[in-house]
């Protein structure tokens, strides 16, 4: 048995033919050169898997597979033996989410104002939608890319599951090794998983134009695929649906861009019986309980936010504290998953620079991730998630010979990878690390003897020669070849230069003295360097700030809790028969109003002195777009009843808190108004800090947004290609939609379930109710007639600025009205809007609300209602009801909210002044008996928010000084949702600033 020592390994690495298994069908242009690839790695510390480490063990591989691993393994005679004493062998890492070997995704140049593309541009028997590409098998598109492979192998990866991450249904990924060989040999498994996302990627098609549209498209696709199983003749061959069904047996991976999308994806999965594996975005620690509740396994990125250049305080005031906190907390994400006992893999995907992979991983360990869990997350977990644990992930007999050899424990700061073996072939990483010269040697140089002490690591040795005195030695090394140089004892200005070769225990060779004479020398190691067994030690985790709920400047470490409250001696606007009560008390218990009256007592309740204050029911905004994300308009078709605002609630929206500061406790979040039949709406209660599901008003009658007029006929577009282009066409879109819904209802069993028509049927069957954006009397009259014809009632006409002209017709039809206080004249269809509109409609007998459609105005809705007192002499109580009880009635929730009566939800506002006065401020806003806004607490919060921000800024400065690369600061600005572009209330400073960026200014006279 000959030991193939590391001496010759450099040669091996250079000349080894990669790809051990000769592919038989390919002709050979040479003599046959079969290789068994039979190797035995001996005396190594073999980490078989994250839980099993074998000391002094042997690993045997043959034909690219592992033949044996163990401490008592016989070494075959015909195996090449590689001495691995002091070295560690790990299974090579597996990346479950990679785009290795794939073409880059071309960016979609979708533009809101571009001509419509209603159908897919993809040629062939595929889906109607360009973003649904279940038929794509990425194994077919995979091309070996040695330079990328080399980068990944350096990090320790041996195989990756890869696909071009493009589209909503992305097709299947393939497991490929990082070997340099033909694709035929490198692809380890043709299909590992089916992939999904909410992003339409390179699709140039209009639909979906919003996050809620993506959700709807995915849901419809499930239904279509189910239906397609019956081979419906009407559909012909649809390979996208066919492959979607075929792929159902594979692991299903859903890639998200933010934590709330995890819940959105999981909800779709729950509906259709699929448990997605989530490819996360790195902010999941912010809602770890919700992540856990999905029961999903995760693939987590190690891409952490870059340090921001914080030097300019006037710029930094626009970078929100949430962004700074995320910078600090992102490295805690994997640890949070481990602590919550959620299964997860780690991926290098998303790193701008892959060389940051290991430093970032070490950072995650520093922030609490255990090394064992880190190793699992890079080996066995991804292998299991992808169903390829029989191939990769551990060092077990029969698996692919993917492993790497390192100088020490893999995650330790001083450890480094020497070689990464992929499919049984060696790939150099840092081969000079094979040869560690460190130790103490007995040197004989001619007749002289001395002691040579070499300390440190390859590349950074420190050496000295000790005889009667100590001489510094310059030492350099290339693999086994060594050069030494030192000052001559006789003449310090003269150098002695030696060349030698290291054989594992000694260095021997020749040299030239200062005199020019040649001399032989030999250094025999008497004592090896002490191996540093504490290599794995990690720096103590830095103190970090708290995760707050919601994750923004106005969040709290713990969410506010329900209290029993007794508000005393206040002026109470009951909105009930007893009207306004002076010096009255309101008792709140377990989230409900228990008693209203004088001299109330309850020992369990916290007393709130209401002397001089006014108490009203919480403000309800019938028309709002706060707290929704990913676009509130699914603008791409004239009928998008399948889109649901419920799918895109954003609990982190700071505007929710701002609404609370104005006494708003519930808002009806609407789809925008850019198409005739928009999307389903969602009534929210502002339970600040809770997640999307908990923000939803429970057990309410569902609504849908409709729209008429300028927005839906796209009046701003001089060449609108989307039907309709006139109010005449709008009426026909409505008539056609309900006609189709009726016809759909008549279809027998086995029909394609159509989410759009199902929703319209709910309207016809009085299970869903309409709030319809409308302005001018002709269109109002028209929709009422369409509804009459189909036998349902238009529940609410919203905006309805010409409602006063047809109030009698609205009253006769039974429609409610939700309008503005005094907005007018900003577009042609509101030229006749008047501030007396609400009062006239109310006088005629219509149930009237005042709404905001604006995150700022909503904070003053009580004062907007007061304008009817001013302009039309409405009574104060009636005016207040327009923002409390009346909207509650039109939303069918007046049994629970809208007035102050025993048994109703304790949604209350304590005002500093008369609630219709411009001087009134909400001092406390209460939802379900929980004080969710408190003006005094808010002042303190502002102080602690600024202190936290300052702490983080100082930490960033330290990070920059510590050498961290920085990026320029950019203001964190959330887009304000409004109905449509032309609905230009334009309150935001940033909209004004945007018009002053000089790139966007075009004043050139041509």
């Amino acid at each position: 048995m000959k030991i193939f020592s590391f001496r010759s390994l450099g040669v091996l690495l250079t000349f080894l033919v990669h790809g051990l298994q000769a592919q038989v069908t390919f002709p050979i242009n040479d003599v046959a050169n079969p290789r068994a690839g039979y190797y035995a790695f001996v005396h190594a510390t073999v980490v078989k898997d994250a839980k099993t480490t074998l000391q002094n063990a042997t690993l045997i591989i043959k034909q690219g597979r592992i033949e044996a691993v163990g401490t008592a393994v016989a070494i075959p005679k015909d195996a090449v033996v590689i001495e691995c004493k002091g070295k560690f062998i790990y299974p090579s890492f597996v990346d479950a989410f990679s785009d290795y070997g794939m073409e880059a995704v071309s960016a979609s140049n979708y533009s809101y104002r571009a001509p419509s593309q209603m159908l897919s541009n993809t040629k062939g028997p595929f889906s109607w939608n360009q973003a649904l590409k279940s038929e794509v098998e990425h194994a077919k598109h995979f091309v070996v890319n040695e330079s990328k492979a080399k980068d990944l192998r350096k990090l320790g990866f041996g195989s990756v599951s890869t696909l071009q991450a493009d589209g909503i249904s992305r097709g299947t990924s393939a497991l490929v090794s990082l070997a340099k060989d033909r694709e035929n040999m490198v692809i380890l498994k043709e299909k590992t998983a089916a992939h999904f996302s909410f992003e339409k990627g390179s699709s140039t098609q209009d639909y979906p134009g919003s996050l809620m549209g993506s959700v709807a498209l995915l849901r419809q696709n499930f239904l279509d695929a189910q239906w397609y199983k019956s081979k419906p003749a009407q559909e012909g061959l649809n390979l996208s649906l066919d492959r979607f069904n075929q792929n159902a047996g594979l692991p299903q991976i859903f890639a998200v861009t933010e934590k709330w999308n995890v819940l959105r994806a999981d909800k779709i999965g729950d509906e259709f019986g699929v448990q997605y594996i989530i490819k996360g975005s790195g902010d999941e620690y912010q809602r770890i309980d919700e992540m856990k509740a999905t029961k999903a396994a995760f693939i987590l990125p190690l891409a952490f936010p870059q340090t921001i250049d914080v030097e300019d305080p006037t710029d930094m005031r626009f970078v929100n504290v949430a962004e700074l906190k995320h910078w600090e907390l992102a490295p805690t994400n994997p640890a949070a998953f481990e602590k919550a006992n959620i299964s997860f893999a780690l991926t290098a995907n998303g790193l701008k620079d892959v060389t940051t992979f290991l430093p970032n991983l070490r950072k995650a360990i520093q922030y609490g991730l255990s090394e064992q869990r880190a190793l699992e997350a890079l080996t066995v977990t991804p292998a299991q998630l992808l169903g390829v644990a029989d191939l990769v992930g551990t060092l077990d007999q029969g698996k692919v010979a993917n492993f790497f050899i390192s100088t020490g424990p893999v995650f330790a700061e001083k450890s480094a990878i020497i070689e990464n073996w992929v499919q049984g072939s060696a790939y150099a990483v840092q081969t000079d690390l094979w040869t560690n010269l460190a130790g103490t040697y007995q040197v004989s140089l001619g007749a002289n003897t001395a002691k040579l002490v070499i300390q440190g690591e390859p590349g950074s040795y420190k050496a000295s020669l000790i005889a009667s005195d100590t001489t510094q030695v310059d030492l350099s090394q290339k693999d086994q070849l060594v050069n030494l140089g030192y000052a001559s004892k006789a003449d310090k200005s003269q150098r002695v230069r030696l060349t030698g070769s290291y054989d594992g225990t000694s260095i021997s060779g020749t040299g030239q003295l200062a005199s020019g004479n040649w001399i032989s020398w030999k250094a025999i190691r008497s004592e090896a360097a002490k191996s540093d067994s504490s290599l794995a030690k990690v720096t103590k985790p830095e103190a970090v700030g708290d995760v707050v709920f919601p994750f923004n400047g106005f969040g709290q470490k713990t969410i506010a809790k329900q209290e029993n409250l007794l508000i005393q001696h206040a002026t109470v606007w009951t909105n009930e028969k007893q009207g306004v009560l002076k010096d009255a008390d309101v008792l709140v218990k377990a989230g409900k109003i228990v008693q209203v009256g004088k001299g109330l007592k309850d020992a369990s309740a916290r007393i709130v002195d209401g002397t001089g204050k006014h108490v009203t029911a919480g403000i309800i905004d019938e028309h709002s777009h706060v707290g929704a994300t990913g676009g509130i308009n699914e603008c791409t078709q004239s009928v998008t009843a399948e889109a649901r605002i419920a799918d895109v609630i954003d609990p982190d929206d700071v505007d929710i808190y701002r609404q609370l500061s104005g006494g708003v406790t519930a808002s009806h979040i609407l789809h925008g108004s850019c198409n005739v039949i928009g999307g389903q709406t969602q009534l929210l209660k502002f339970r600040w800090g809770q997640n999307a599901e908990a923000l939803k008003f429970s057990n309410w009658d569902p609504f849908i947004k409709f729209a008429l007029g300028e927005n839906v006929k796209r009046s701003w577009n001089t060449s609108n290609p989307r039907f309709p282009d006139t109010r005449m066409g709008v009426e026909q879109v409505l008539t056609d939609a309900f006609t189709r819904a009726r016809d759909y209802e008549k279809q027998g069993p086995g029909k394609r379930i159509d989410l759009e028509l199902e929703t319209l049927l709910e309207i016809l069957n009085k299970k869903r109710f309409i709030t319809c954006h409308s302005y001018v009397q002709s269109e109002i009259n028209a929709i009422l007639k369409v509804a009459d014809k189909f036998g349902f009632t238009v529940n609410t006409l919203t905006h309805i600025l010409e409602g006063y002209k047809v109030a009698d017709k609205m009253k006769a039809h039974g429609a409610s009205a939700s309008t503005f206080g005094d907005w007018w004249n900003y577009k042609m269809e509101v030229l006749d809007a008047i501030p007396q509109n609400a009062a006239i409609m109310q006088a005629v007998g219509v149930n009237v609300a005042i709404n905001s459609d604006d995150a700022e105005m909503a904070r003053r809705l009580n004062q907007e209602a007061a304008k009817s007192v001013k302009y039309a002499g409405m009574s104060e109580e009636d005016a207040l009801k327009m923002v409390t009880l009346n909207p509650a009635k039109m939303l069918h929730v007046a049994d629970r909210v809208g007035s102050i009566a025993p048994g109703k939800d304790a949604d209350l506002v304590i005002w500093s002044d008369h609630p219709l006065s411009i001087y009134a401020k909400s001092e406390k806003t209460i939802v379900d008996g929980t004080v969710v806004f408190d003006r005094a607490e808010d002042a303190k919060l502002q102080v602690s928010l600024q202190a936290e921000k300052q702490r983080l800024i100082q930490k960033m400065i330290a990070s920059k000084k510590g050498g961290a690369p920085t990026r320029a600061s950019a203001p964190s600005v959330k887009k304000q949702n409004m109905c449509e572009e032309d609905h230009n209330h334009d309150k935001s400073l940033w909209e004004r600033i945007a018009s002053r960026y000089i790139d966007d200014v075009d004043h050139t006279i041509e």
Partner: protein, 431 residues
């Protein structure tokens, strides 16, 4: 003694007519005496049960009992309040009718350097919006062009006129600059030149081109005669002798600091318009005697982490620091919302200003800033009788009902398109 009933009856008679038949009032011929009201002078002072006399369009506060005779129109305003007329600075009122409809938009001219562009010549006295403002006590406005770097010259108008010549109250007395944004793009978003361009550097270069213009204008104006007349230079004349103000439209600290520096070079009288972050440098603004026309207080905080009520309390912070300030309605559809200026002052009062300080912020302060305080802005002897009589608190929609308003002593018609449509439909429904 004869009570002033004529105009009121006259208005009732008009009330069912279309706005097209409403007309400006003729010059005052008869002396008017208003008694019994609480006078809000506009400078902080309040006089209860005061008497105001209006003669030849001018005001006098009477300290002794008025002489009432047949040749005097008497208004008994007992229990009511009298205020100086509200002044709306920095608006495109009359330069646009319907903001979404381009053919009605006349405030944004092509070109970078446009001091010669004059807003007044496009000001439409027949805009349907104007009368709705008067009904809430807004009697004067500064008509401001937009666009370019130097946007043009503004004029102060009174809101009861047959044509723009009648309307002009202080002609061409301001030159407006719109500063480029001196901050990185939000969320790292790219512009036409892509995300790599440095907007701050590009913005400063553009501002420098403005400096170059004024340097050349100053030199040009040192000579009286020129072989070739430069209209743009000529239009800057009043800036150098400080008879006109330079209004720089900007919001952020670095922009305002640059504006102060800019004005210093030429010794211009500087007013900041916008000023969202002015509260952060209130002391600097005060020390440099820079006035501020604040963007509407009814706005969301500029930064996500700002206090939820920051725009509401900015006025109080400026007041405390001694900055002369007023407020405007300058956003997209702002001109239709100028009638809410008194209520925005009310909000500022809820958030730190006294009621009278809040009133000053929309009366005497803008008069001072716009250079017309010698003629209007307060109830002081000898000033134009631009006044409002209100049944309740002008700043609170809960009680504000304007019963009379006078511009230069002329009792103006308080009807508008809205009251007329209201009446039309009250008739329909028999209300």
């Amino acid at each position: 003694m004869k009570k002033l009933l004529i105009p009121i009856f006259c208005f009732l008679g008009l009330s069912l007519m279309a706005q097209e038949t409403m007309h400006p009032s003729p010059a005052q011929t008869k002396k008017i005496v208003i008694t019994g009201a609480t006078l809000h002078i506009g400078n902080g002072q309040v006089i209860s049960n005061g008497t105001v006399s209006i003669d030849k369009g001018k005001l006098t506060i009477l300290t002794s009992a008025p002489t009432l005779s047949a040749d005097v129109d008497h208004i008994d305003a007992t229990g009511k309040h009298i205020y100086p007329g509200v002044i709306a600075p920095n608006t495109n009122l009359g330069l646009v009718e319907v903001s979404s409809t381009k053919s009605t938009v006349d405030y944004d001219e092509l070109g970078e350097i446009n001091p010669n562009i004059r807003s007044i010549v496009a000001y439409n006295t027949d805009s349907k919006v104007i009368n709705t403002l008067r009904t809430n006590g807004v009697l004067l406005a500064q008509i401001v062009p937009q666009g370019g770097l130097i946007s043009g010259s503004s004029t102060i108008v009174q809101l009861d006129a047959w044509n723009w010549e009648d309307a002009a109250y202080a002609l061409d007395n301001g030159v407006h600059m719109t500063f480029p944004a001196l901050i990185n793009r939000p969320n790292g978003g790219g512009g036409r030149r892509g995300a790599d361009s440095d907007p701050v550097k590009a913005g400063l270069e553009r501002i420098e081109s403005g400096r170059v213009f004024f340097r050349e204008a100053k030199a040009y104006l040192n000579e009286k005669t020129h072989a070739a007349i430069n209209l743009k230079f000529e239009a800057t004349k009043g800036l150098f002798d400080r008879t006109k103000s330079l209004y720089v439209h900007c919001d952020l600290v670095k922009e305002m600091l640059t504006a102060i520096d800019f004005a210093k070079e030429f010794n211009f009288k500087l007013v900041i318009a916008g000023g969202a972050d002015s509260w952060m440098i209130a002391d600097i603004l005060a020390a440099n005697q820079v006035a501020v026309i604040l963007h509407e207080p009814h706005a969301l905080p500029a930064a996500e982490d700002d206090a939820v009520d920051q725009p509401y309390k900015t006025g109080a912070q400026l007041q405390k620091a001694g900055v002369l300030f007023t407020i405007c309605q300058d956003s997209g559809d702002g001109y239709t919302q100028i009638r809410n200026l008194p209520f925005m002052a009310g909000t500022m009062s809820a958030y730190g200003l006294t009621r009278e300080e809040a009133l000053s912020a929309i009366t005497l302060n803008p008069a001072k800033i716009l250079g017309i305080a010698d003629r209007t802005g307060s109830l002081e002897n000898g000033k134009d009788a631009n006044i409002v009589i209100c049944q309740g608190d002008l700043l609170d929609m809960k009680s504000s009902v304007v019963t009379h308003a006078f511009i230069q002593g002329r009792a103006i018609d308080l009807n508008n398109k809205h009251t007329q449509l209201y009446n039309r439909y009250k008739y329909k429904y028999n209300l």
